[in-house]
Subunit: 347 residues, 4 copies
Amino acid sequence: MIQVGIVGGTGYTGVELLRLLANHSQAEVKVITSRAEAGVQVSELYPSLRGFYDLAYSVPDADVLGECDVVFFATPHGVAQAMMPELINRGVRVIDLSADFRIRDQQLWEQWYAQEHACPELIAKAVYGLPEVNRAQIAEAQLVACPGCYPTATQLGFIPLLEAGLIDPSDLVANAASGVSGAGRQAKIDNLMSEVSDSFKAYACGGHRHLPEIEQGLRDVQPADSVQAKVTFVPHLLPMIRGIHATLYATLLPGTEQDLQALFEQRYANEPFVDVLPAGSHPQTRTAKGANVCRLSVFQPQGRDKVVVLSVIDNLVKGASGQAVQNMNIMFGFDEAEGLDFAALLP
Amino acid sequence: MIQVGIVGGTGYTGVELLRLLANHSQAEVKVITSRAEAGVQVSELYPSLRGFYDLAYSVPDADVLGECDVVFFATPHGVAQAMMPELINRGVRVIDLSADFRIRDQQLWEQWYAQEHACPELIAKAVYGLPEVNRAQIAEAQLVACPGCYPTATQLGFIPLLEAGLIDPSDLVANAASGVSGAGRQAKIDNLMSEVSDSFKAYACGGHRHLPEIEQGLRDVQPADSVQAKVTFVPHLLPMIRGIHATLYATLLPGTEQDLQALFEQRYANEPFVDVLPAGSHPQTRTAKGANVCRLSVFQPQGRDKVVVLSVIDNLVKGASGQAVQNMNIMFGFDEAEGLDFAALLP
Amino acid sequence: MIQVGIVGGTGYTGVELLRLLANHSQAEVKVITSRAEAGVQVSELYPSLRGFYDLAYSVPDADVLGECDVVFFATPHGVAQAMMPELINRGVRVIDLSADFRIRDQQLWEQWYAQEHACPELIAKAVYGLPEVNRAQIAEAQLVACPGCYPTATQLGFIPLLEAGLIDPSDLVANAASGVSGAGRQAKIDNLMSEVSDSFKAYACGGHRHLPEIEQGLRDVQPADSVQAKVTFVPHLLPMIRGIHATLYATLLPGTEQDLQALFEQRYANEPFVDVLPAGSHPQTRTAKGANVCRLSVFQPQGRDKVVVLSVIDNLVKGASGQAVQNMNIMFGFDEAEGLDFAALLP
Amino acid sequence: MIQVGIVGGTGYTGVELLRLLANHSQAEVKVITSRAEAGVQVSELYPSLRGFYDLAYSVPDADVLGECDVVFFATPHGVAQAMMPELINRGVRVIDLSADFRIRDQQLWEQWYAQEHACPELIAKAVYGLPEVNRAQIAEAQLVACPGCYPTATQLGFIPLLEAGLIDPSDLVANAASGVSGAGRQAKIDNLMSEVSDSFKAYACGGHRHLPEIEQGLRDVQPADSVQAKVTFVPHLLPMIRGIHATLYATLLPGTEQDLQALFEQRYANEPFVDVLPAGSHPQTRTAKGANVCRLSVFQPQGRDKVVVLSVIDNLVKGASGQAVQNMNIMFGFDEAEGLDFAALLP
């Protein structure tokens, strides 16, 4: 039984970690921090957890966290990088759900996140926690940077096509939509129910922070001689709580005759948490609600030269906390599905 | 490992049984029936179950079901009573989620359900499956009639007050609201999203079939010399999928000085699936979403003579399929929480 | 064409006034104030109004407002009372949508609102703006206190029964539910979409500020020799934006033989904005969405001694801004339906 | 005052016509047909219209409809073409909201709609009712084919770019999402609230009937020497009732230096129902809810060669019934905004 610490446990990825780890047979949450709620019982803030935890929030303390086997950061960007050296030096393994260590190019990170990186020396140490690409490195990593929610859904959809060199990497469109839990649990007028329910909108059309992460991740799987992947990425806000749907468009290179359905099925045949649907199916976000799964479909409409990939995840599970637990399982040699092997909540 | 059959597995209580039993360590679903979908894989109709079941719907057959240890009926009323003798005679234990065997007074049943009862000889054999009242009888029963969703939420709220004789049984109000999954998975204009989302209404104000069930259940827990419980029950339809909220009103008898909070806490101290919230809390249906729990609060507004009880459940779990599995656990001597010991999905 | 000022125009009742007045043939909004948004165009904050207003928010100024014929306060409680003397002294007519002048008993107001009343000398001058009760006084009033949303729905439902002396005034239950726009446009975690959608809860069960207002309003219509109306009022929060549904319960006095349907139809026969539905109908909040109407149904379930009244309004229209415009029409002698004569948005 | 007939008045576009025409000063609905609901009052089926219509559904009769000045078809495809000759021969002007006369190429229509066209001789007579392109022809037309909802949002977004020859017509992506009212008011399991709320999905990814309509409309506005517009169109289903959001992607031709914001503003400067938002804004569907408006934004993310256009409408208003009334206004020489000049319902 490993000891788990969670930094920043009042937000939605924090409470989702608690939900998932409550049923994990080999991990136990010993510490959960929140400066604002220090002293408050977890089950007082989240009555859904009554009976599962006898645990109060505490002020983050490196010594206390340092006694854990693994620490999750479920914090806004900027927090993990500030505490990271203290934990890494204590030999703790860290799984960071924030954006702090996802981008390898420090300058690019600083440009998109509009601040100096507080811990550039550890960036190179971080392994990007997409198991479907980096499973072996994750197993050995001390520091894992969990992918963002949009990047998870988007990369899993484009990867088979890019690896196989079937599409023009310079003309990719990722049209994605997220439930509002992706905006976090912060007091903002823009996320009030009266503002966002019963409506739909694009946002950050001029540039979203997940763009450089997506382009980096895609470049990593391209054949060496390819043109660098270039994505037009437009996120949208859905009037619902959980779920991401990415609709991906690419141009097939001339002469491609490959069976796209077979390509996707083969690529993910051994992946426990990627599900390629039967040809002609359209994935619904609800089939992933609460579950650690990405469901994919691939289409070639009208037999023209555009391929369309549909990709759904639960942004809080495969897009965040579930993937984090999956990474933990890989890092500690547990069954990769431990604590994650249950069905989505439908209806 | 017991063998489970499910009759009527295409509806929402059927798929919820599948979800819950997928993680049950001592029960395995061997048969699931549906005349309309015979031959179709469960995971084709419900992609959320892909990877959990390799099972197709079949036409109901008493011989096949007769080989199961337990059969669940997740059917509209009228179906279970027609097949029941064949199963009971084969010695199968049956858990009926429908209304067929809930009402002990045959005539009352026939009046409210507007049809003749096809199997009156087995009515007396049925045990009403509310574990918080009938646990011992459930353990011995061959036929368990699972309570309706509204009756579960309503009875659990009134029981402590009625048992203690603190309220006037002749003046009870049960104002309840349900998510639309309670209306089932049938093609009706009235349940289209365009008709019921973004709106709220009462329905069946003149009389709902759960009324006689509620009144029978309350009568069962009243002291012998009490006036018979009489309830004004008004159900409402919520613009959401899952959840029931009952707001219960009763008049305290003169001279009552009892600590109502303590009364509720004591009554349910040993109940694994009833949670009395701290004084002053208001239960939210989302804290029960997907989980087998009833959360209760009790208030005495303004110190006047009305007591108000708030009661929430997930209509598909503690209000149907979860309670059915809880009953199965009791009947077969399993840990009562087996397969049900996970937290609600929140947010 | 009268000149209109609006104090506090960034909230939902403010923008709803703008929407309604945009089509009013005899009123024109000249001033709209907001300290926080001073200088910002109304249509920038609310793009739904693009093309309807060329008007920017300004800092409230009694001299500027003093030039209007009528000023609406669409502010939190406490604001109107502070500015009121300046406007009343300038002879302006004022329609206050807040709670500041609704309660005639100053001490009671101060107790429920937990502050000293800043302008007690004007309380007696205020007319309670429920046209169905006080139409004549409203016509003459300089200061109208618009009813709260819950009190509007609740009073209109109980009034026919209380006026006729048919029910026991000491045992009234008002179980009401509101869309989240009733909570206003403030940055609070509790009102985030991730917190309140897909869920339902009661709140303020121990005591809500609308209770004394409801009880005062009911007392006003009771026969002189009646016992004072006493209400158990429990509000709930609906996962939708607009709409209030009140489910009202009362005990019929022995010997009552009156045709309740006819009673309601007669009471409201000449009311342009109260609609008594045909017997057996259940009002849906969506049939009032965006429209200035209260729809009512009355039931006597099982022929027992409880009467149930169902009452729906749009909390922002008949429950706030629409009723405010209705009051303005009465005060200025316009057709009472001017600017309000359009159908609800359905579906 | 012209006399209006509506064929197929029980669906959502039918009731929306009733809502809009209730406030039209120069048109009066005299006949509304429905075989299924013949004899039923409009206000019984739609209580939101109580007080606005004293009108019952009747069986469609060409002689009765023939006395109207204009007849709207708010029917599924296939119905209008069957009745059309009778009405056209009687000299009635017809506005068809269905797909029957939108496609000029009979064979293409028959291929996509999988049936023979019953009235090919009138196809050429029909004017495509997009006022922003065909205003002059609409004014003279006897038969107007109203555009589909997706085609309206999509064409208005692409038109300025295609007319100006700035983009590659062979590589257009239209990623669109619609509220569920677009699926109509039919008893289908797929459109139950329990099936479609709290979820999001693409549908008809292999080919949707609005594709040939979109491509025909775009071709019509392209410069004569252009390559024919080719669109990859993927529709999605939103968990809300009203609203369409189209996210449009195109590749700018090399050397383009044009100010895209200015291009859009100029193209629609005189259009009463197309609103180009300020640069950098993202339109929300709620800003069009209930209103006859299309709001547009244009972006060039990262200064790369992709242009992104965001386009929102209410599918039942500018996407159907509102546009139909706009066409009627043009045909009869009324003010184009008559009956349509009100703000969206927000929040």
